[in-house]
């Protein structure tokens, strides 16, 4: 199976102190460390596990600049066969639809049976997967938390439903799936792995190479524009339960039942 996984480099929320810049329209980007968007990492692991079972290749693609190569290398160190960097100034400032447009062109260039994205990016809005499938006219399933390859060009997938339920679906290939965290346990990639793929060539594709009309992407074509960015003020402090251990446990259970945490 030929699988394309769309990945993205994001500021690592666990390892940064996210602060507003002085203009108040973005976060302070000095001193940030980046990593692969967590959902995307699960998607790559899932692709690798499918290929390990039934054969095929895994290609990872990202849109960005030189700095974004690092996430491709990390995923190649995980085991992806090929990384592709889509880089063109014309793409800067694209909104979700713009990104989907670019990726759609990428998908059409290859012969992918399966396209995976993360459910959402840590700094994104879970837009791209759905739009991409619509543009490609591929079937789409979101919040996928298990994949089983069936005979005859079909997949059996489960989707996460609110309240922890699962819904099983059959879906035709080729298709687009957005992958939920927890679908697997992504393998660890250390410095050694990254060093071993450091010499591998990563091809770059521009707007013209992809045949994307520069007018349909980029800041000019974006119809969703960020107006403001702010950190909400902290709410009221936590409630401290008082009493003996038994009383605290009773109160906690009552609270958890009341709030739907326990059935």
């Amino acid at each position: 199976m030929e699988i394309l996984v769309c990945v993205r480099r994001v500021p690592d929320t666990a390892e940064n102190e996210i602060r507003l810049n002085s203009a108040g329209d973005d976060i302070e980007r000095d001193d940030l460390v980046y990593s692969v968007n967590e959902w995307d990492n699960y998607a790559v692991e899932e692709a690798l596990q499918i290929v390990a079972k039934i054969g095929g290749t895994v290609t990872v693609v990202t849109i960005g600049g030189e700095d974004d190569e690092e996430v491709l290398r990390r995923e190649m160190a995980m085991g992806a066969n090929q990384g592709v960097l889509i880089a063109d100034e014309a793409f800067d400032g694209s909104d979700g639809k713009g990104i989907a447009t670019i990726l759609q062109a990428m998908v059409r260039q290859g012969h992918y049976d399966l396209v995976l994205t993360g459910v959402q990016a840590e700094d994104g809005g879970a837009q791209v997967g759905g739009m991409l499938s619509a543009m490609l006219d591929y079937p789409f399933a979101s919040l996928v938390n298990s994949i089983e390859v069936l005979e005859g060009g079909k997949l059996k997938i489960s989707r996460e439903i609110a309240g922890g339920n699962k819904e099983m679906n059959e879906i035709d290939l080729p298709c687009v799936l957005s992958i939920q965290t927890g679908i697997n346990e992504p393998r660890y990639v250390g410095m050694r792995g990254i060093r071993q793929v450091a010499g591998l060539e990563i091809p770059r594709l521009t707007a013209s190479a992809l045949g994307v009309d520069a007018g349909t992407v980029g800041v000019a074509a974006a119809k969703v524009k960020r107006m403001d960015y702010f950190v909400p003020a902290f709410g009221k402090g936590a409630e401290m339960l008082q009493g003996s251990s038994e009383e605290i446990v009773d109160k906690l259970i009552a609270l958890m039942k009341a709030k739907g945490g326990l059935n």
């Binding site: 666990a14 390892e15 460390v33 050694r192």
Partner: protein, 704 residues
């Protein structure tokens, strides 16, 4: 042999002359043993390299101490003494065994130097030796069958018990002792009956008792006993010889080599591959131990040498709290695997992955590398290097628990496991009240400070542990040591990154720190974190000498340069908890205790498990990020041990111990009854607190 009686070589066994019979038995026995040992050597020859051929004098010295001297044995008093008796007996009987075997082949053999008085004295000594060994077999069997010490038990998850095997071996040795003694007794009785006079036999020895039993026996019957006892002795000897390589008794042969080739250094971790430099590591295809053959030959020899005495697991804190790890079975499972995959008959099997088959992932992650098992092993079997090698294999395969992955990723990008920003590393020193009294400089190579305080991650970033950092800085300041820190240029020492198997990341952290330390131009390093101490001392090269703060304080106290005020509450009872990487791995036991004892009025007690038997708090470094399967926290056990000792204050000298012990006090519900304090914090308090002299001075000035 003594004149008049035919030796077994001259005797006939049915139609077969003894000479021929025993030559055949000897030939078969030796051939069989050689073949089995060669088979046992096969995996060792396929194993990884291991450089153990240096420092022959030191190694011989250790042989004298740990093999001949049985140094570790009395740590378990009763079993240890029994073992020493058996071992000494075997050593004494070795000459006799050799002479006896030759007797069946050549009738007139006397070991050179054993004629005359020396020979007679030896005869008496070895008769007692055989008697003692025989008695020890009885005692050991009673222990196994009746007393059943808990450490011999085999928990269900580790397969079936091996008690029957042990009893069988004890019985074989008992038969060997008895047959040898019976042979001698019958010979002596024969001699007496044939008018050769009553030979002197050591009173109350087995031969003496047997001869008394045989005194009325007829000559033909005695003759049968004589020949029969000899045959039984020879058969038992060769059977034992060939049977030993199949179980725990193999240590009789391997222990000598295992101890000679044992690891000499403490606190270190073996290189990824012996003989491969750091620069060449990128070319190494696979890291660590994944299949059995990835173990070094010495590690395989360890597996063969284990006597299954259970002392390692008896001391192992992970085992004690129900983590799925028992060092004993780490070895036993590997030995079983080796015997199965390198059978005596047939060809070696395919090398399967060890983790996932004989070992579980959690088993390998459960070890805190505290070293209690290694400290205990009478045969000097190593465990930490194997655990680290197995982890290296898992890391190489990407097989790392998620919680640890996050910490490793943060260490890679930020140089600390919390993902905090580098520039905040020195924030602990900027607390306002502290900064007013103690200005900690960040070294940039031009300050001319001779001492570097290496803080390390937990003390830099953990709110609670920052207090240890400030106390350490104040002490250094107070003793007039011009010192500074690396600040944002310091990264995690990587101590536990290495011990969790992430060698490449460790090397990056180490190289960064070495460069920063060298650029700082210091001549000494001080740290209050035993893990950093161990890393700087053993894992780093080309850095100035390093001391733990407890060593610095102890020296100042000894020199009379640091006076400590009397203890504030004389009712408090203090117990010192030895951090693994200060105590066992670096042998710093006395300095912290001496410092405590220098505080006037301080009552100190020892926990039952102290010094080299200290019980790990739960593990430091990345172990804080691991979620182990366990029934109880190690720290909780440790806090209870302190309470049992009658203490209400636990003093430690490690920020990780502090984390675990303070948590444990809460978990055990002992808040208010037990507190924990770091040695540096305590000393800092006792420096800051006005002593009687100062109080007096103040009163005087007040009165004036």
């Amino acid at each position: 042999m003594v004149g008049g009686i035919q030796s077994p070589a001259q005797a006939n066994y049915g139609p077969i002359p003894g000479e021929i019979l025993f030559s055949i038995i000897a030939l078969l026995g030796v051939a069989c043993f050689t073949y089995i040992v060669m088979k046992r050597m096969t995996p060792l020859l396929r194993g990884e390299r291991d450089f153990r051929f240096d420092q022959p004098l030191i190694r011989l010295g250790r042989l004298a101490q740990f093999w001949l001297g049985q140094w570790k044995h009395p740590r378990y008093r009763f079993a240890g003494v029994v073992h020493i008796l058996i071992f000494a007996g075997f050593l004494i009987l070795a000459t006799r065994a050799f002479a006896l075997l030759v007797l069946g082949i050549s009738g007139h053999f006397i070991v050179p130097g054993f004629s005359g008085l020396a020979g007679q004295m030896y005869e008496a000594i070895k008769d007692y030796a055989a008697t003692i060994v025989f008695s020890c077999m009885v005692v050991a069997a009673v222990r196994r069958i009746v007393i059943k010490p808990a450490r011999y038990a085999v928990p269900a998850e580790y397969g079936k018990g091996r008690g029957a095997d042990a009893i069988f071996l004890l019985a074989l040795i008992a038969v060997l002792m008895a047959s040898e003694s019976l042979f001698k007794a019958s010979e002596s009785a024969l001699q007496a009956q044939q008018g050769g006079g009553t030979e002197f036999l050591a009173m109350l020895s087995l031969p003496w008792m047997f001869r008394n039993l045989l005194s009325e026996t007829s000559v033909p019957a005695l003759w049968n006993v004589y020949r029969g006892a000899y045959l039984l002795d020879v058969l038992t000897f060769y059977f034992l010889l060939c049977y030993r390589p199949f179980g725990i008794q193999f240590h009789v042969e391997t222990s000598l080599f295992n101890i000679y080739f044992a690891k000499l250094e403490r606190g270190t971790v073996k290189p990824v591959r012996w003989g491969v430099s750091d620069e060449q590591l990128d070319q190494v295809k696979s890291f660590g131990v994944k299949k059995f053959e990835d173990f070094t030959w010495k590690h395989m020899l360890d597996f063969y040498s284990c006597a299954d005495c259970g002392r390692c697991s008896d001391q192992c804190p992970a085992n004690a709290v129900g983590r799925p790890l028992s060092p004993r079975f780490l070895t036993i499972k590997a030995r079983d695997y080796s015997f199965q995959h390198y059978p005596v008959l047939g060809n070696p099997g395919d090398g399967a992955a060890l983790v996932g088959s004989i070992y579980s992932e959690d088993e390998i992650w459960s070890c805190t590398t505290c070293g209690a098992c290694e400290e205990e092993c009478p045969l000097l079997i190593q465990y930490i290097d194997k655990i680290v090698d197995l982890r290296r294999g898992m890391v190489d395969d990407g097989n790392v628990p998620k919680s640890i992955q996050k910490a490793l990723k943060a260490l890679e990008s930020r140089g600390n496991p919390y993902g905090k920003m580098e520039k905040k590393r020195a924030e602990w020193a900027k607390a306002k009240e502290f900064q007013e009294t103690c200005d900690v400089r960040t070294l940039n190579g031009t300050h001319g400070a001779g001492t570097l305080y290496f803080v390390d991650s937990i003390t830099s970033f953990d709110d609670r542990m920052q207090a240890i950092g400030r106390a350490t800085a104040r002490i250094l300041d107070r003793i007039g040591e011009p010192f500074g820190i690396l600040g944002g240029a310091e990264k995690d020492s990587g101590h536990d990154v290495r011990r969790f198997g992430e060698e490449t990341l460790f090397m990056a952290l180490r190289d960064h720190n070495v460069e920063a330390i060298q650029a700082s131009g210091v001549q000494r390093i001080v740290t209050a974190d035993p893990h950093a101490y161990n890393a700087l001392k053993h894992d780093y090269k080309d850095v100035p000498p390093v001391e733990h703060i407890s060593q610095v304080i102890a020296r100042e106290v000894r020199a009379g340069k640091l006076a400590l005020a009397p203890v504030e509450d004389p009712d408090n009872v203090y117990a010192y908890h030895d951090p693994c990487y200060l105590g066992r791995h670096n042998q710093v036991y006395d300095d912290p205790r001496n410092v405590l004892d220098a505080i006037p009025g301080l009552q100190r007690v020892e926990m039952k498990r102290c010094r080299d038997r200290s019980f790990c708090c739960g593990g430091g470094g990345l172990m804080l990020f691991y979620e182990p399967q366990e029934t109880e926290r190690m720290g909780v056990k440790r806090v209870r041990m302190a309470a049992e000792a009658g203490a209400n204050v636990i003093v430690t000298a490690c920020p990780f111990c502090m984390t675990n012990i303070e948590d444990a006090i809460k978990v055990a519900g002992m808040e208010g009854r037990m507190t924990a304090i770091d040695l540096a914090e305590l000393v800092d308090q006792q420096i800051a607190r006005p002593g009687p002299l100062q109080i007096g001075t103040r009163q005087e000035s007040a009165m004036a």
